[in-house]
Subunit: 129 residues, 2 copies
């Protein structure tokens, strides 16, 4: 698919798509081709790509909205608070990334197909139990 097509599907802008896909391309998850007939193609078996890989490809963006704080403040109170929060945040982040590593894009595809079937059934029989 082209960035143009993807951006319409996702209600955004082709350049935004390219920005995001660039990370995935550098990790070898997708490939891009220029020129006529070009666009984006998947270049790996979906079963070999985990959400953790995607997270890494996207530059490991900040996981937490909280705790966007100074690394080594002079304030001793702040230091004490940071030490406590760092422990907790680090533990939570480790668990999160571990979980992301357990889900592959193939899993997501399977889940999607499941939902797709459910959806068709529901549309045919809107009032079924």
């Amino acid at each position: 698919m082209t960035s143009e097509q993807l951006s319409k599907t996702l209600s955004t802008n082709p350049v935004v798509i390219r920005r995001i896909m660039a990370g995935l391309r550098d990790m070898g998850i997708v490939r891009s081709e220029r020129g006529h007939g070009g666009g984006w193609t998947i270049s790996r078996d979906l079963a070999t790509v985990s959400l953790r890989d995607v997270y890494t490809a996207l530059g490991e963006p900040m996981v937490f909205a909280l705790g966007n704080r100074q690394e080594m403040p002079d304030c001793l109170v702040e230091q004490a608070v940071n030490a406590a929060l760092d422990d907790a945040f680090r533990a939570a982040e480790v668990l999160l990334i571990e979980r992301l590593g357990e889900v592959t894009l193939a899993d997501l595809a399977a889940d999607f197909h499941e939902r797709w079937k459910q959806n068709k059934t529901k549309k045919a029989n809107p009032h079924a139990a």
Copy 2:
């Protein structure tokens, strides 16, 4: 202390202090008094207040910077991704909050005093091992 004093200590604005302290007050962690000689006082034993209580008092702000997404999108792909992410995020959040519940303000105070002593020693003997 007054909001004015606190705001100077924390390099911010008195109104910001009041906004934040309002949550702590509603949870009974601090008390505010108006008028001459008023200000903020701690109203509970620090050993009975955990970081989790503070988190709750602050209105349980969003923990994660990622996944700021629609609850039940029409897009089945988005649904599948959300389901996977929700699992992971929920697990991480549970762990984080559990950890926050294990740290009391008294713990932080003790840690602060430890740092304070260290700091004094270092100032007296800057080149000690």
